[in-house]
Symmetry: C2
Amino acid sequence: MSEVYGNRRRRLRDRCAAAGSAAVLVSRPANVRYLAGVAPPGAVLLLGPREDTLLCPRTPNGDPVDGHLDEELRLTVLPAGEGDPAEAAAGSALAAGAESLAVEEHHLTVARHRALGAAAPGLAVTDLGPAVEQQRVVKDEEEIACLRIAAEITDQALGELLESILVGRTERHLALELERRLVDHGADGPAFATSVATGPHAGLAAHRPSDRRVEEGDFLSVSLGAAYRGYRCEIGRTFVIGTSPADWQIELYELVFAAQRAGREALLPGTACRDVDRAARQILDAAGHGEELPPRTGHGVGLEIGEDPQLAPAAMGKLDACVPVTVEPGVHLPGRGGVRIDDTLVVRQEADGGPELLTITTKELLAL
Amino acid sequence: MSEVYGNRRRRLRDRCAAAGSAAVLVSRPANVRYLAGVAPPGAVLLLGPREDTLLCPRTPNGDPVDGHLDEELRLTVLPAGEGDPAEAAAGSALAAGAESLAVEEHHLTVARHRALGAAAPGLAVTDLGPAVEQQRVVKDEEEIACLRIAAEITDQALGELLESILVGRTERHLALELERRLVDHGADGPAFATSVATGPHAGLAAHRPSDRRVEEGDFLSVSLGAAYRGYRCEIGRTFVIGTSPADWQIELYELVFAAQRAGREALLPGTACRDVDRAARQILDAAGHGEELPPRTGHGVGLEIGEDPQLAPAAMGKLDACVPVTVEPGVHLPGRGGVRIDDTLVVRQEADGGPELLTITTKELLAL
């Protein structure tokens, strides 16, 4: 496993020609974790002229690195109060003969950037841009394996909830119980704040659980995901509470289901991201729900929720194979509630069977 | 309540002479919340020449503001994809006749700062520095009332845990149960990641709960806090599991207790922060535990955990009245475990009864 990280760092060096006198400083935590395998709080990764170094502040608990570092990676632990590891990294890049240092200007604050420059006078500080984020878009099989396990954990937690009594319980409690079950089944923790939305809240994206209780006849929509070894997946389902759904509930559910299926079926290498969004969006649009639609109908997942690619009307670029994304259209009718259906899938070649569905909980309309 | 925020903004204007042609842009979420009463994701606050404006991106759920804005504050909701509210704020500051804009260079990234400058050519962009953080150090009685409620919730959650069976349960489950109880009692959520540390982990600051189960004879240390209306408190306690503690456990507990009491008793207006730290630290030092000590023995709390002041050997400045701080010395013996005792208190004049203890759970050594 450990050579995986060395290989990723080599690919980054090649990509941004970070060799010889050009060093690279990675500070964004998810990027540090991608390239080093660990990301202790405050750690930064220096790809220097001669060697790669992970610089971390000392923690009160001693060793800041939980997990193993690959052999090619040097670890420097800074004493408490020795200032920002980014400054120390700039200093050692200069000392190692670097003439330039590319930093993540979309992550470093202006204050840190200035201090870093002052710590290494004569070093040309340039912008790395989102080079690491771009490298993270296409996943290797180790990463997809982690996402597959995250999805299994998520399906288990959701499946157990569906077997329990729901009427009378609050959104807040159901969300907490789902998060507990995620951890019970081996998640590092929730991939994002679990959302449980009942009645008029149902179908809202990222609804913050309230003290509203589940009632007969409600739509109930849930959105949750496990983080496993840092990899985050997402599932969203909508159910009806009671014996039989109302006609408007069935119609709305079938509409959103059709839109979500159209989005899933559009997931093929070479397809423009905006076309995947359009496939789902136009079905809801044609039914007169154009107004209530969220700005995007899906997004990439990995070490972060909501990473690239974005599935939205103005999104640029095409899908590649081995890119995990969500497809999550939804419609919310103010005052009445709504439906969201959300899966995590991996884009695959048609020859390989097409999109790989990771979150396998049924999408039938269940009456609970 | 609403005039509270207008008054805070006026004090900030006075403090940094933000008037006439000098505008201020606040982007750090806790600072936005302090000055506006709300902080929707991505929102920024502009103190402009003529009026104050909260700028937020539109959310999929419609109204981004949950909570009421004071009458003096204008709300601008940017359509999705209209770019960074900070850029929009710079543009409207310029349009409103501002010649300069002070920004939080310790929060804005280099990329945002550049985009903001480009969005308002001719506007002089300066550094606000930690002006809002400094203003936040001394709390008003509304803020202290929120902290008092947060502490009550925290004491309730901890008290309930102590009545339950602990042996055989994992650190992870106990931490999740504590967080559920915090929410049950009305917390917004946990103020920080709840820490439960058993046996050899006990006494570690910020230990991440593992799957280790509580055993007879263990030290068990817990660290938790509720967030209430954004205000975060902290409590830490250490217990022994079983009928009677071992001698070394009693000795170590009494030592840390004495250090924590010395720290608490040093909390008076005008006392240097480093002297509070020394009061606690020297007792542990004298007992030969100088090496195992964390870099600080306490810190301010409020809208953030770990805000200023810092109680540490190199800390500058003196305490003021109405500053809430933690006092949390601890000793960890590698392989054996240790003790941490942590309270949240408010610095008060001696005439007002001295330090006000918010977290009132007993500090006797309980055998559970």
